[in-house]
Symmetry: D2
Subunit: 354 residues, 4 copies
């Protein structure tokens, strides 16, 4: 039997990155360094970086070195055409709204980590293992917006990713009636320079601008159902209190959930841990890991699980007020941002939508 | 008009401290340095410190210098008699159970910060502003245990203190039906050496041994009613998920509350901020402070409010699932431990129970 | 004997603060809240704050509340006239150069914490206990620059303040031949937002822009001699490697020093600890404290010594290469910035130069 | 051409780990998980772990999961025989002295990370790239101590590893006359629980028990010359001031060096970056990396260079007092502890001493 690497027979998709110098843009470069399906062909960033080599334009902040293959790429302006097949966007909301539409209109599939289109009716908001069927919206989107071949697909806010997957598992099996979440979010979620050390050293910030509404509404959309040309949002209430804590990477969620059907503790464990994974390049072997250790999950010890793409859940207990409570954790810049977008792109290829 | 200091005409009560070398014991020394009603006359600690001058026995960890008046006191064993009128105890649970009873039986009022007696039926668990009438249990305790003049009075777990006061305010005015709390607790709550830096740097610990049950049951006792010779615990459910975060001092609580009566946001604010303070030496001018700043309370900026004895509340909002949510904060080693015990002692004097 | 408060008989000097909304500006407000000689009468800041009440313009970051007396003061532009007798400046270098000169020319004594004039030949760079005689430069300055009544007096870079005082003590007694310093500096030294948490959490920064040359040259000027109309800088070499560490307040310096005369360890201790303090309102009782504890000084435990105005020195030992080594610490935003400027102003009053 | 993995034709050496449950012991398990030359066959630890499965006995603190191959191994007492060919020891000094000798006497090669034998005359203290010829001491050791086949080989203190390699490069080329070092060391160097968070959060510790003498003497031995049956220690003075900072992994050293011969900056750079690497399994491609970025090395960004086995050097400048200064960094639990021992074992195999 001959075992031939996929990458040896397939031409790779050429990727352009919008917002390439930011923290999520850097993660894109890191994740795509040796990716079998993608290769970076274009980098775009704001005015002040344009014309410089990426190496000069970017204040690299990751602990692995800047990949050789991007160091000399000249940064281009954020406007089409870009020499690529797909566009990954990690633009800040302020510029993303216009730029992403322009690229989609110019025929590019836009895989966006920005928040601006997530809650638009005709834009898929995707966690591949949870709601890949929502990609059905793409056709609607193209029709409605007059896009020819291009489209916009988004991944959720990083806080949402830390708790939506176990809720999906419980909802599918027992029906979720309500979910109250308190998040303890890492500073990398704010990008760079982001959170000032004077604000977070020996401190907790009880407020992250705009985060609580995002966490509440995006979860309902992701767990909603595609009905015809629209998503019918999940009919359970979500409450989110969002805190910033002194952690570099890894969002932790304290979750209390009420279920529509009675469930034993063992069934809760099983529903979460057996939720199916996908077979994409960046999919972890275990989408969700349930830890039996009473002191887990912990961001520093569990964020890298599944190469930063697994969700780790622990401390599942019956609750005095809600039916169950648990703690859930995900890597906010991998599963919650750049890795999420890459996984979405892999899904789109798998579904032959690119 | 002659303005004479109270301390100039009154003899001070002489205080003995059990567990004097620990972090809470050190706080006792700090708080009593210039106290108008108390002076430290005896320090007791475990075997290994006995016979040494306090200065030698104690690895002082506070940012103010060790008070002159305790430096040379010789540390004594933890057993009566101690040359003092009142005993403050910050013993670890393992030794507190026996030692505190022995001291009470020997005639000493024992003001305890330990957890072991807090939930005993005949032991008052006091936050002076909230339930000073529970001191009525002392008589029952003395009768039941055959104590002559001595007794044990306790203050709550430090996590409870961060959220019980605003619940008390809401319960008194609107009736609380349930309260779901997620705490973000400081490392000083675990004493010294306590939390290893390897466990909390760039991390969150989702588990504090024994903390969640304490937080759930103590709140119900404090907000309960003294009926005859016992406390009838408050009839609302409490759920607590307790996290350790990388903060030195200051426990933050994310609270969701259901009320029995309808209340407007403005009324909630008012019920909390107008809850009466007491007129004891260590009482803050404002027992509870409601901050309008959307990014408060923060441990580093608010823990010292009212000399570390005020509770700071903020981010009070209607909630999607519960009636209201808010964030509440207290200084865990002041209002939540040593300061709480000192305030209890002041209350006992004020009530002529010492 | 009648003990009358100074403040009851003296009119207070009215102070204007340039750069009032920054971290050092906030410290000025804090330090002057109950100052017997000064009262704040004017606050000035950049364009974007002008016209707002200080309360609205300033993101207050200190752990004590914003003083009542400044909350409603309307922020004015950074240009004379300001309704005040003295100007304290904590402007960033970029605007300080022009603004401070304009104020001095307009007749104001300018007490500056900015770096731009520190090394100018005719500008005193003062640590009151060390080189108050350098104030003799003021006359030269006024003559040379054509200032009428105004002038500029500066305090040193916060890193310098952590090691220059013990060097001054040793230089005066034994002569310093060279001093090699490695600093471990707190994040507050960079102002707000200053250091990004992503740069300093679980990290050390080996570089602070412009800091090493400042540390090397300012120390030589402070320890220099006023000869006629100029300072003859100290004739010893200074080497400084400057690091940023994950500490909120308190700069630590690792110092190695060669002396011109032989000295016993005991003499070194004595020379430092007996260096005279001054009798100004903000002077600490002990200008320098020598700790015998092998694990001190530590920023968190020692930065508040002398209300943040003492220098704490420890670990004085003979060195394998240099004559002696020691560790020295000062509070960088108090003794090293705002407190330094306030002390300079007190000195100027004491010397009848204001 | 047939490319056959070394591990497929060679029997692996079977390794026993003494002190297997500690932080360095855990690193051994992690590093040997897929090692081509070694496989773990025995785990030994203190009384309290003996008889338990490693999985139960060990509080795993690394961010990668505990390897499958060790989870079920039963922990044995720290005494021979152990079912293995080589012993790796990370025992605390108190027990290492006796245990390591016993194992060596019983015929085991003991690769030790403990400090107790490092400075013994007949024990090699090895950084493979720097002084592998010191292995010549083994024969002397066996003769002197009456060991038959066993012996003890040690690796240096983790602080020393951060600065000795660049000193070796400079000494070899220009001759080092003196080296003054200030270290900023990570908390993991103290093991687990090690440093209390209350001691290091918002703080610097200026003292690490026993560290400064180790740093000063070990460097001289490593850079010394094997003359006959003994090491003649390097004839330059070393001064070390050692600080603990709030960093998880990665020791940073601030170094000032005087050279015997004149050297240009460019030559310094070149001498360090061109120092030869070895061709062992755990050797990094680049033993030392010289960074041109003025803000490097940083622990969080550079400690993983070369899989945690490279030394990163930066900020090389002429100094005002010494000839040159620079900043050097190494991963203290990889290159400075477990990785060092594994590399020593690989070296011993390569030299056919095992």
């Amino acid at each position: 039997m001959v075992n031939v690497e996929w990458s040896m027979i397939m031409k790779k998709y050429r990727v352009g990155i919008l917002g390439a110098t930011g923290t999520v843009g850097q993660r894109f470069c890191q994740l795509l360094e040796d990716h079998p399906q993608f290769e970076i062909s274009a980098l775009a960033a704001s005015e002040r970086s344009v014309g410089k080599a990426y190496k000069e334009a970017c204040a690299w902040k990751l602990s692995t070195p800047m990949p050789e293959n991007v160091r000399k790429i000249e940064v281009q302006p954020i406007s089409p055409p870009l020499d690529c097949d797909i566009v990954f966007s990690s633009l800040p909301g302020s510029v993303a709204r216009e730029a992403e539409e322009v690229f989609a209109r110019a025929g590019f599939p836009v895989i966006s980590n920005s928040s601006c289109y997530r809650m638009e009716e005709d834009v898929p908001l995707i966690i591949p293992e949870v709601n890949h069927d929502h990609l059905g919206l793409i056709e609607t989107q193209q029709a409605k917006r007059g896009f020819d071949e291009g489209f916009i697909v988004t991944n959720p806010n990083c806080a949402v990713v830390s708790f939506a997957p176990p809720l999906a598992a419980l909802d599918r099996r027992f029906g979720v009636e309500s979910a109250a979440i308190t998040t303890l979010q890492a500073v990398s979620g704010a990008g760079y320079p982001g959170v000032a050390s004077l604000d977070i050293a020996d401190n907790v910030m009880p407020y992250i601008a705009g985060e609580e509404p995002k966490a509440e509404t995006e979860a309902q959309k992701i767990l909603g159902k595609l009905e015809g040309e629209a998503i019918e949002k999940a009919d359970f209430a979500v409450s989110a209190q969002c805190f910033r804590v002194n952690v570099i990477d890894g969002h932790t969620a304290s979750v209390r959930v009420n279920l529509r059907e009675t469930a034993e503790l063992e069934q809760i464990n099983e529903a979460i841990s057996s939720f199916p994974s996908l077979d994409l390049h960046s999919s972890p072997k275990d989408f969700m890991i349930v830890s039996e250790d009473p002191a887990r999950p912990q961001p520093r010890l569990d964020r890298e699980n599944g190469n930063g793409m697994s969700i780790t859940v622990g401390r599942i207990f019956p609750d005095n007020i809600s039916d169950y409570r648990f703690v859930s954790l995900s890597h906010n810049t991998l599963r919650g941002a750049a890795g999420a977008a890459v996984l979405n792109a892999e899904l789109l290829i798998d579904k032959k939508l690119i």
